[in-house]
Symmetry: C2
Subunit: 437 residues, 2 copies
């Protein structure tokens, strides 16, 4: 199996203020091309440091992917670093220049002197056109290692990987004459199962017998406020036709795991909770309305990250004041006085209120204490109530009608409690949507 290495360039990635989302995307893409990423490095904007990392990576990897440091500003020195390491002086590349000019012209802009620097490419390198931004990438072969440089902006890097890097890598790898390494990339198979509602140790315990019996599969567990994700990884080495074929091991394993974890599995692969919920709502033609309190709009935000969500989401009322709960959701003032805004009774009234006012089929609500202040011994920070109220639909309009309220106690800082509460509410909705068929 070929070795790949990713180098993310940018002092901001080291010094905080920005998350490196590119590497994750690129690792997955390389894996699907049969290139295993064992190491990833992050390095600042210093020419000497970048050069050092590029040298180390080139020694141990077949493919080195650099992201970042191709912009127009003085701290963008990736092209200089690659030029120095490979001893290929920078030249103004006409194709890169022309592409940049056209792109800027389409935006009604004229390239500045600084932007012209972006057309400097190590001599002999191939230009990778950037269909979105102004900075082109480049790729070259150096001492049998393939070096690819992409901009740091995630949207640009992702698009360029598909449109330019994949064909370039295919051509470069295909043209090699190294019989010891198969031209056709080996297969890496990976499966993800996302669960909610079980602690990590419980998930592992339930899967132990299956995982142990499969020596060729590596199993990983990852806990986050979104739940526990189980990954199954199978790398098929060798170049024979037999080993390169999928043998169904992972399919069987995933089926067995799903059985063990039952209703706690909410999604597979890259699908998110909000996509699953949206898929069910769209399939059954249901409309949803949400009344949020402590989650502050996060449920609405997550639901609307999914394209086409306007088909099944009518409205979200974030009621941070009691008055808003009364006015927007029709929660009886007395109920709040008697039980407090954070109570099962108010959660139920919120879900019912938003459903009736919006004429949606399903109402979902969350009320709780996100902290760090506002907790009491009786109602501590992290106490959250989720409510669901369904009008019923289908034959005789009674299918799926009903009400559910659940109490949760979450730990952690404010952001984690908000995220856990939003996940709990969406998961309750997901389970209801699965049962209701």
């Amino acid at each position: 199996m070929r070795q790949g290495e990713i180098i993310a360039i940018g002092s901001e990635l080291l010094l905080g203020g920005r998350l490196d989302t590119n590497s994750l995307f690129l690792t997955e893409q390389l894996a699907s091309l049969g290139i295993e990423v064992r190491f990833k490095s992050v390095v600042g904007d210093r020419l000497a440091h970048i050069a050092q990392v590029v040298r180390t990576a080139s020694r141990r990897a077949d493919v080195v992917l650099l992201t970042g440091g191709l912009g127009p500003t003085q701290d963008d020195v990736t092209r200089q670093a690659v030029a120095r390491v490979t001893a290929r002086p920078l030249r103004r590349h006409l194709l890169a220049l022309e592409g940049m000019r056209q792109r800027l012209a389409a935006w009604g802009r004229i390239p500045t002197t600084a932007q012209f620097r972006q057309a400097l490419i190590p001599s002999g390198a191939d230009v990778l056109p950037n269909p979105i931004g102004s900075a082109p990438g480049f790729a070259l072969t150096w001492k049998k290692t393939l070096l690819v440089a992409l901009p740091g902006v995630p949207v640009e890097a992702e698009q360029m990987f598909t449109t330019a890097v994949v064909p370039w890598l295919a051509a470069a790898l295909g043209s090699e004459r190294r019989p010891a390494r198969p031209v056709r990339p080996d297969r890496i198979e990976r499966r993800l199962l996302h669960t909610f509602g079980l602690p990590e140790s419980e998930v592992e315990q339930r899967l132990q017998p299956f995982v142990r019996s499969q020596k060729s599969v590596r199993c990983g567990f990852l806990a986050s406020p979104r739940g526990v994700t189980v990954s199954f990884l199978k790398v098929q080495g060798g170049a024979t036709a037999r080993s390169a074929k999928k043998d169904g091991t992972l399919d069987r394993l995933v089926r067995a795991a799903r059985k063990q974890l039952g209703r706690h599995v909410y999604a597979e692969g890259a699908e998110t909770m909000e996509q699953v919920v949206g898929r069910y709502l769209a399939r059954w033609g249901l409309v949803l309305a949400v009344g949020e309190s402590c989650t502050g709009g996060l449920i609405g935000h997550r639901l609307t990250e999914v394209p086409g969500s306007s088909a099944y989401l009518d409205r979200v009322a974030v009621c941070y004041s009691n008055r808003a709960k009364v006015e927007l959701l029709g929660v009886p003032e007395r109920l709040i006085q008697r039980h407090g805004a954070v109570s099962a009774e108010v959660a139920a009234a919120m879900a019912r209120g938003i459903r009736i006012r919006s004429q949606a089929q399903v109402g979902l609500s969350v009320t709780g204490i996100a902290g760090p202040d506002g907790g009491t011994p009786q109602k501590p920070v992290g106490l959250v109530f989720v409510g669901l109220d369904a009008a019923g639909f289908g034959r005789g309009s009674r299918v799926g009608a009903g009400r559910v309220t659940r109490e949760f106690r979450f730990h952690g800082p404010r952001e984690a409690i908000k995220l856990r509460a939003s996940q709990a509410a969406l998961d309750m909705l997901r389970q209801w949507l699965e049962r209701v068929r």
Copy 2:
């Protein structure tokens, strides 16, 4: 200046599905202790690979910080990897065992066999207690390099860094007898200026004269949907008293930069847009209500990430349907029919409607097309209108009264358009709050 290196452990970090947020926090913390992080590595859950990275890092760094791989599951092998590299066999550590037992008992739980593995620590290492989770960390000195291992869960790693790692490092560094390196850490000074509304090249152009004249300061630019962030970094080398003192260079530079960038600067340092907006609202005792459409709750979510936001946020109405806009915000149906839901007129009516209905002093609204579908030649994807409607307050209730509507055209995928739109709306509010005094 001392060299630090961070190693993030976990196949999930390489293979996607999770962002490594720890490293950013740790880099900043180490920098504030005078330890410069030049390189960061990410490596999967393989013992041999982890050992390789630990060896490389130990050769070039004074302090190596490992995060992740300390959990109870089979794929957690960080302690084994460190034991192998340093040739210190794992021993059950009584302090670690007891701490874990107490923590779990407080949650009403008994440690499982798998969790007992977490009390295994390389012999001679110091235990770093984990006040939140079950896995303790550990620290040891190996061939003059300080090796520190922390859990991968961000909340735990962050808290442990402050409570356990800082004192351990201080003691370890203080007890060294190496006169060539000063015991007292040198100072690293870093400033961040966050701007919105100017392209990256324009920001750099405006700052060029100041940046060029300061050879001792490194200036970096970072563009994201939140705007362009400028960082100023000054590393003071040497061990003399003079150089270790802050000389005010950065203060002067930041003042000059603020002048050049004017109203586009919305925050400094770690402060976020939502914190700035919240600070102003709280200071002037104003209450805000928001009517969102294409941002889907993201503005509410961002505002409520700030502790205490319930003091100034009354409600957020996310109106994904036209009917919701009419019912919750009182937008006249005719207005929507005449101008369309995505129009300056509707944005203005939304801001006014939510303000009046909620009796808040300030109403903020967003309507637009987040895409990828729903665009037309006249109203393309990325077209966004932001509205602001203020009742006026203060002397005679006329201070700050007024209405603003602005049109934006954003590019990029759905998530980026939502984020840019939320930032544009909050920035409009921020500028209004700054002017209104």
